[in-house]
């Protein structure tokens, strides 16, 4: 087998609050294969966001090993991690993802500015990403002129604009109604099925988790079981 997209060993992170120590990630081990759509579930405060941030190099653990896409994140400096994120990761956050003063198109083009691509190529890739999420006709709209679901789809377009290997999404459907949430989930599923992206999505919506290939449970900073969703994707496709 090829090496996994994500390999985490003995990952520990704790916060000190007053005299107490709150262990958020507790000697956690995790492997995630390339091209799969993972849902990370767990009760509120169980460490989901923290884990996602560590994997996305937005946060540093206290100890442990974190390899993502072959890179040893513990060995990289802050500016190296910045560059690595630009190359490797696409982020989708829960809300307020977009820069409100820029248009949808300008938002999607943002990460492309960190690439050596030509102006023309950036334009093409940004528009292509917008087409992929079905919002090419909203390119000139500001985030304030879009619905919540559309905003989140623009955020997905931005996450895939540079063609990264790994998409990290923290409760991307948390603020959306059922229909908008379904569209976003459908998109994330297509990213892994059609574009072979690895997608790691935090959610506590069981219906959302059903759309993934694998569900990972986390509780009090420790991984629970790994399960296959009840509805197999093979049957759907």
């Amino acid at each position: 087998m090829t090496e996994p997209m994500i390999r985490v060993r003995n990952l520990t992170k704790a916060y000190r609050r007053g005299g107490e120590t709150l262990t958020v990630l507790d000697r956690l081990d995790l492997d995630m294969e390339r091209g799969q759509f993972y849902a990370l579930m767990g009760p509120s405060g169980s460490g989901k966001t923290t884990l996602l941030n560590v994997v996305g190099a937005l946060d540093r653990p206290d100890s442990g090993e974190v390899f993502v896409g072959g890179a040893d994140l513990m060995a990289l400096s802050g500016s190296e991690l910045s560059r690595w994120r630009a190359d490797t990761i696409g982020f989708v956050f829960q809300g307020f993802n977009l820069i409100s003063v820029l248009t949808a198109y300008q938002n999607v083009r943002l990460p492309l500015l960190l690439t050596p691509l030509s102006r023309q190529r950036r334009r093409e890739q940004a528009m292509h990403a917008l087409e992929l999420v079905g919002l090419a006709d909203r390119a000139k709209h500001r985030p304030g002129q879009l619905s919540g679901g559309q905003e989140q789809r623009v955020a997905i377009a931005r996450a895939i604009a540079t063609d990264p290997d790994l998409i990290l999404a923290d409760e991307p459907t948390g603020d959306l109604d059922r229909e908008a949430a379904d569209q976003v989930l459908e998109l994330l599923g297509r990213l892994s099925r059609e574009l072979q992206k690895t997608v790691l999505m935090v959610t506590h919506d069981p219906l959302a988790a059903e759309r993934s290939d694998r569900i990972v449970h986390i509780d009090k900073g420790r991984l629970g079981g790994l399960e296959e969703p009840a509805v197999a994707h093979g049957a759907q496709a």
Partner: protein, 388 residues
């Protein structure tokens, strides 16, 4: 490059706030440049003074006159080409003060040949009319005087011997035009003889406020000065002989410590505006915390985040500064006219423009520094947690 776009879009995020900041910056820099120009104009007047001219005055003070008999003796000093009596008159025209001087009329044209020329009338006509006077173009325009007009002046320091409310009568025989910026176009010159004769008739013959000296081209000012001072070292009235610039500097210092005062006001205005800019930039940075987090998550480095805020501060301050300096440049002629004869040649010097723009940039850097530094250090997880 999205960077300039992001800078501009962020500044229009709160248009009113940006507008108010730019507006107050513009006012502050307008004030600063204008105050600064008063000082540079005073300095320029001194710098423009001729090295070929010296002034003899009493060692006691400007207000103690010298005997008229000194003139002939001063002219004997080697290196002195000619002398001219110089008495500030200080009278009012319809209660308005302006500068008048009693001078040796036949010597004035040569003394200031590089500084003034006649626009109307002639020195000959002036010479023939004992109550004749030569007035500056600016003054003639201000009071709508023309050749032949009668000018009644009420003496304050030198009341008319016939009564304090009796006017000294003058008649305009010529109008001069300054040839250099710093020579006042608001002066009036009249015959020493008229001044002398009138006061003598009242029983108090005048003394001479100062003697203007024109040096021979090869003369050494220091030795002329020493020789003249030496001449009257034993009295009855001791004198000091100084270059024209030094003589004029006394009038500048008569404004008290005005240059210092103006500098202090200008500095205070800048300090106040700096605080306002810091406040604006802190608010601006706070509004963009989440955006900065998103940008950093996308892979934009700490330097970019720093630069984004510094660029916004520089844009705000640059705009306000350019506007203020531009306003000062536009207003300079109007201000010069309003100041009239008191500050001949009032102008915003190129170095004041550079100073103003430099200060605007400095304001931008200083007010942007702290928010930018914080933006650079901001951690993505903290930024994304903000406002949730």
């Amino acid at each position: 490059m999205e960077f300039p776009l992001l800078v501009l879009r962020n500044l229009t995020r709160h248009p009113l706030r940006s507008l108010l900041t730019v507006g107050s910056l513009a006012i502050a820099l307008f004030l600063f440049c204008t105050l600064r120009s008063v000082i540079t104009t005073l300095e320029a007047g001194l710098a423009a003074a001729s090295a070929q001219r010296m002034v003899v005055q009493s060692t006691v003070s400007l207000f103690v006159g010298l005997p008229p008999t000194y003139q002939a003796r001063i002219e004997q000093v080697p290196g002195v080409e000619s002398t001219c009596k110089w008495q500030w008159f200080g009278a009012l025209y319809n209660d308005v003060p302006f500068s008048q001087f009693a001078v040796d009329s036949e010597r004035l044209p040569a003394l200031f040949e590089k500084e003034m020329e006649l626009a109307q009338g002639s020195y000959d006509a002036w010479e023939r009319n004992v109550i004749g006077c030569v007035v500056g173009e600016g003054l003639a325009n201000q009071f709508r005087w023309g050749i032949g007009d009668r000018i009644p002046l009420i003496g304050v320091f030198f009341p008319h011997p016939d009564g304090a409310d009796v006017a000294w009568e003058f008649e305009v025989e010529a109008i001069y035009r300054p040839l250099v910026r710093n020579f006042s176009g608001h002066g009036m010159f009249f015959h020493w003889d008229y001044f002398d004769r009138t006061l003598k008739a009242g029983g108090t013959p005048p003394r001479v406020g100062a003697y203007y000296l024109k040096l021979e081209p090869t003369a050494d000012p220091a030795s002329v000065s020493a020789a003249v001072d030496e001449l009257f070292a034993a009295g009855p009235q001791r004198v000091q002989t100084a270059p024209e610039a030094q003589f004029q500097a006394q009038f500048v210092s008569m404004f008290g410590n005005i240059p210092f005062f103006l500098t202090a006001i200008g500095g205070g205005v800048l300090a106040a505006i700096l605080l306002a800019c810091v406040n604006t930039m802190l608010l601006t940075a706070r509004d963009q915390t989440r955006d900065l987090g998103v940008l950093k998550a996308l892979g934009f480095g700490d330097g970019r985040a720093f630069g984004l805020l510094i660029a916004q501060a520089l844009t705000l301050c640059g705009l306000g500064g350019a506007l203020g300096v531009g306003l000062a440049l536009l207003a300079q002629d109007g201000i010069a006219a309003a100041l009239g004869g008191s500050f001949p040649g009032f102008a915003v010097a190129p170095r004041t423009v550079r100073l103003g723009l430099g200060i605007a940039v400095a304001l931008g850097l200083v007010s942007g520094a702290f928010p930018a530094w914080r933006a650079g250090r901001l951690r993505v997880v903290d930024a994304l947690g903000a406002r949730e």
